[in-house]
């Protein structure tokens, strides 16, 4: 096959555009990762969380989260059986350094790790005026920092309080499920450091993932199910008082 120089010059930009499309299905730097083969979520076992805050610290280090803002945090619930204000919650510094000992031993107490729920029908991506926040084909809600206007509509739309405006970049920020790690076959920073295995990254499309067995044998729940966001942060042992 012969090709003239003129034809080659015409074809080269077209080939470059086509190559962009080819690469689009493969996250940067992970040529063997195919987005359509995965559907990510997370399993959070409240019965196992000890409120040590390792996950919060690991996340802040891994993702350079500015002080005072949180991609993930831990809440401590203290629930008494009755009365006005029977639900007490605290999360000092997002639970980063653990929790002070409870003075009052009345009622039950437990820890709830929180993060972006990576909703399949996420209200935050719905409202973004330019599509800077989007759901990747593998089910992770991400933010394109180079495109975000910083209008904060997504922050208002998130029912779980998972988003914030990064004061340095002036763009919306949230948990990316350590996308830079999971596309390389690693787990998230928070799951990596959790000493009790209370957090488990789950690939719902992978038949070999132990999450399937867990979901079959346990009663799991998502946060605020009435909002029908298609949340993919599944909680085991979730108390009705948790919001």
């Amino acid at each position: 096959m012969s090709i003239t120089r003129r034809k080659l010059l015409v074809l080269m930009p077209a080939a470059a555009v086509a190559w962009e499309y080819v690469l689009a299905d493969q996250p940067e730097g992970s040529p063997n990762y195919k987005t359509t083969d995965h559907w990510w979520g997370m399993l959070l076992d409240i019965t196992k969380c000890i409120g040590c805050g390792s996950c919060v610290r690991a996340c802040q280090l891994e993702n350079h989260v500015p002080d005072g803002y949180y991609r993930t945090w831990v809440e401590r619930y203290v629930v008494r059986d009755w009365g006005f204000g029977n639900i007490g919650v605290d999360s000092p510094d997002g639970g980063k350094n653990g929790f002070p000992v409870l003075a009052d031993k009345e009622g039950k107490s437990f820890f709830v790790p929180k993060l972006c729920n990576h909703c399949a029908d996420s209200p935050c991506t719905q409202v973004c005026p330019v599509g800077a926040t989007f759901i990747s084909p593998d089910g992770v809600v991400l933010v394109d920092k180079k495109y975000c206007l910083g209008c904060r509509y997504c922050i208002q739309a998130c029912p779980y309080g998972c988003r914030f405006l990064n004061p340095e970049t002036q763009t919306a920020e949230k948990c990316s499920l350590c996308y830079h790690r999971i596309t390389k076959g690693l787990t998230t920073a928070c799951c990596e450091v959790c000493p009790t295995g209370a957090r488990q990254l789950a690939d719902l499309k992978d038949p070999a993932d132990p999450v399937h067995e867990f979901l079959k044998t346990h009663s799991v729940q998502v946060l605020k199910p009435h909002l029908a966001t298609g949340a993919k942060a599944f909680y085991n042992g979730l108390d009705g008082s948790v919001r």
Binding site: C128, P129, V130, C148, L149, R152, Q156, G161
Partner: protein, 397 residues
């Protein structure tokens, strides 16, 4: 620590400031003023004619400024044009950009231009130098003001107003939808929100034009057309009654239904929002002006007393509607989405999103209106004075 109870850690800081309060307030004035103008044009309410052009100019002045608070609020204002270039179709905010542009360019500017075209041509002919050049530019090269062309102007203008009414409804109803469609926030999430926003917009726009008409008449030493202000005040009362009924319906529905958010919201209204919601919005900004306007309908008061009551009622109305916007925007961020805590809003004075900026942005439309009124006088008599006696002859030529 500036919060009580428990807030999700990222919620402590408020995201939408006083500038976002200002934004629906300004667009509301635009929609309301335009709807008042359409009363004369489409519904042939002759009595409000003296306010027709002023209402259009008021709408334009406020519409020009309306996007500024948004721009100042954005983390990256330089990227805002992306909303037009690559809009996200499922986003209420993105689509609003087009509604705004449609309303500004296809409705308001065209209607004003058609209505003023003859005056612009006459003024171009009566002035010299830079002013002539300016008015010549404003004619857009269309200098034919024969009766036939005026007839076409009127017909097209009527059509534009007809399209403009649903557009004005859309403009502000849509602002309500931006808030009302946020299901994460029970303070905002109600299908009544667009309707309440729309009627409150009409209330604020009518009150603003009524006040501006009375103030400008005083400044220019003209007599206030009593029949006109009586009619405008009557429409203000009717619209206000609908608006108040809708807001009360929303309130009663919330109290009776008492869903999971109710206890939290009720506590907020009785504490942090008490002054702005109960005292300023409901009592001083709604009940009192409705009572004052009602008195003018029931009692036979002399013209001067009526005018004074209208002025007081109009001013209180604007304060009340501003408070309503405040309570929606700021109130909607004071409570935690966990319903277990409350934060506070601290407004800076000299800051990008501070009080001073808000004051400047509130006054800016009035400055623009002053320029517009001088450029395109809304009073027919004044136009006659501007045009020299020789002009009709030139026209005939």
């Amino acid at each position: 620590m500036n919060f009580d109870g428990f807030m999700y850690p990222n919620e402590v800081e408020l995201q939408w400031s006083v500038l976002i309060v200002l934004y629906p307030f300004l667009t509301g004035l635009v929609a309301g003023a335009f709807i008042l103008a359409s009363l004369e044009r489409v519904f042939l309410v002759e009595a409000v004619k003296p306010t027709y052009r002023l209402a259009l100019l008021t709408a334009l002045a406020f519409l020009i400024v309306a996007p500024l608070p948004l721009q100042l609020h954005l983390g990256h204002p330089e990227r805002s044009f992306e909303m037009y270039l690559t809009p996200h179709r499922s986003s209420a905010m993105a689509m609003f950009g087009f509604v705004y542009l449609w309303y500004l360019m296809a409705v308001l500017v065209v209607e004003i231009w058609l209505d003023y075209r003859k005056d612009i041509v006459l003024m171009m002919q009566s002035f010299k130098g830079l002013k002539k050049c300016m008015y010549w530019t404003m004619t857009l090269g269309s200098t034919n003001i024969s009766n036939e062309s005026r007839r076409v102007d009127n017909r097209v203008g009527w059509l534009i107003t007809l399209i403009g009414i649903p557009s004005a409804f859309l403009l502000h109803g849509y602002v309500g939808f931006i808030f009302g469609s946020v299901k994460a926030n029970p303070w905002w999430s109600t299908p009544l929100m667009p309707v309440v926003f729309l009627f409150s917009a009409m209330v604020s726009g009518i009150a603003a034009v009524m006040l501006l008409y009375m103030i400008l008449s005083k400044i220019h030493g003209r007599e206030i057309d009593q029949r006109c202000v009586d009619t405008v005040a009557r429409y203000l009362l009717y619209t206000f009654l609908i608006d108040f009924s809708l807001e009360m319906l929303d309130l009663i529905h919330r109290i009776y239904e008492a869903d999971e958010s109710f206890r939290s919201l009720d506590f907020m209204v009785h504490t942090r929002l008490y002054t702005s919601q109960v005292v300023i919005q409901i009592v001083a900004g709604t009940v009192v002006p409705i009572a004052l306007l009602g008195i003018t309908q029931v009692l036979r008061l002399n013209a001067n007393v009526r005018k004074r009551l209208y002025a007081i009622a109009g001013s209180l109305t604007l304060i009340g509607i501003f408070a309503m916007r405040w309570n929606v925007v700021i109130g909607g961020q004071l409570f935690s989405k966990s319903f277990l805590g409350y934060t506070t809003y601290k407004m800076g004075f000299v800051a990008r999103e501070g009080l001073l900026t808000a004051i400047v942005l509130t006054l800016l439309p009035l400055v623009i209106l002053w320029v517009l009124v001088n450029l395109l006088p809304p009073w027919p008599e004044k136009n006659a004075a501007v045009v020299s006696p020789s002009t009709p002859r030139q026209l005939a030529d």
